[in-house]
């Protein structure tokens, strides 16, 4: 009798325990400590870190304050992805752009881009129309361009693999063609590969 009661209780409690251990879908803070870290790829927290480091360094340099007509106007140039992965470089540049805009130190043009392609074609069309009607040039030439490269360096020894991601950025003065600020943030991750499986 007693055995039956204990067994019934155990049977009732067991699913609760097992269920409690299961990984249910849940929200986490983007880039927070619970984020998945992979050695073989750039994670979202890496982009956030690189963008924060670049923005802080750029703002602290004071280069954006040295324009005749503040806030400085920025155009995004080429960001080369030299890693083995397919990544959208906007994950880096957009964060920098938003942070710079919020700081009040710089604005980014969306009507000028590499090879004459505008990020916002409608805005470019409307701007050209306004220029045509008023017969005046409304476009402000960017003070600076932002270009860069993302590089991946991989090293392995035994079961340990290591990846370093270098986020290199240059701010070029469009009047002189000189890089007035350059920043590099390196993020290195190390982990052990499983001995069995992939």
């Amino acid at each position: 009798m007693k055995k039956n009661v204990i067994l019934s209780l155990l049977a009732a409690v067991l699913p609760l325990i097992v269920g409690g251990c299961g990984s249910q879908a849940h929200y986490i803070q983007t880039g927070g400590r619970e984020s998945v870290v992979t050695v073989s790829g750039i994670n979202i927290q890496d982009f956030i870190q690189a963008a924060d480091a670049a923005t802080s360094d750029l703002l602290a340099s004071g280069k954006l304050d040295k324009v005749a007509n503040p806030p400085a106007v920025l155009a995004i140039s080429r960001i080369i992805n030299n890693t083995g992965q397919q990544i959208d470089t906007d994950l880096l540049t957009k964060k920098i752009r938003v942070a710079l805009l919020n700081s009040g130190k710089a604005q980014t043009t969306t009507t000028m881009g590499l090879g004459g392609t505008a990020e916002d074609p409608m805005a470019k069309g409307l701007q050209q129309e306004a220029e045509f009607k008023s017969d005046q040039k409304a476009t402000r030439t960017p003070d600076f361009t932002l270009s860069g490269k993302i590089i991946e360096t991989v090293a392995r020894t035994g079961n340990t693999s290591q990846s370093t991601y270098s986020f290199q950025l240059s701010l070029t003065d469009t009047q002189t063609g000189l890089a007035v600020w350059e920043g590099e943030k390196e993020i290195t991750k190390q982990g052990s590969r499983p001995t069995v499986g992939f």
Binding site: Q45, I48, D52, G62, L64, K95, V98, A99, S103, G104
Partner: protein
């Protein structure tokens, strides 16, 4: 017979322990040119273990040429082993409201045994007047 077993064991244990121990010697100029503008800080410790291992030595501030507040925190690892932790800066305006920062990372960091290191951050906007830094052990 017992000694035969214990001696190699003691040797292995010593190697294992010394392998984890790190320490650091430093040298710097005695007559400092720079003058740190120290900030009186207020600390809330809920993880005494982390606070004991990675202690905050001091906080100093400076203004960037563009009028942004720059904070530098000096940390000291009181232990002889590497410690891993994460930190995150939060910024507040003159009304005490938190300033939203799109790139506000939780930065993973590490500090060697006996090492003294600095972490810095620049306020995202000129309106930022106050700050808070969160430390979590990894």
């Amino acid at each position: 017979m017992k000694t035969r077993i214990f001696l190699p064991l003691a040797g292995v244990l010593l190697l294992a322990v010394s392998g984890c121990r790190t320490s650091m010697n430093t040298v710097e100029n005695a007559q400092k040119e720079g003058q740190r503008q120290m900030v009186s800080d207020q600390r809330v410790v809920t993880d005494a273990s982390l606070a004991d291992k990675v202690s905050v030595v001091g906080v100093n501030q400076a203004m960037t040429p563009g009028g942004l507040l720059k904070i530098q925190i000096e940390l000291l690892n009181r232990r002889h082993s590497l410690q891993r932790f994460s930190y995150q800066f939060e910024w507040f305006d003159a009304n005490g409201m938190q300033v939203n920062n799109v790139a506000s990372p939780t930065v993973p960091s590490q500090i060697d045994g006996g090492e003294d290191k600095f972490i810095t951050s620049v306020a995202p906007t000129p309106t930022c007047k106050d700050f808070r830094v969160k430390f979590v052990e990894n």
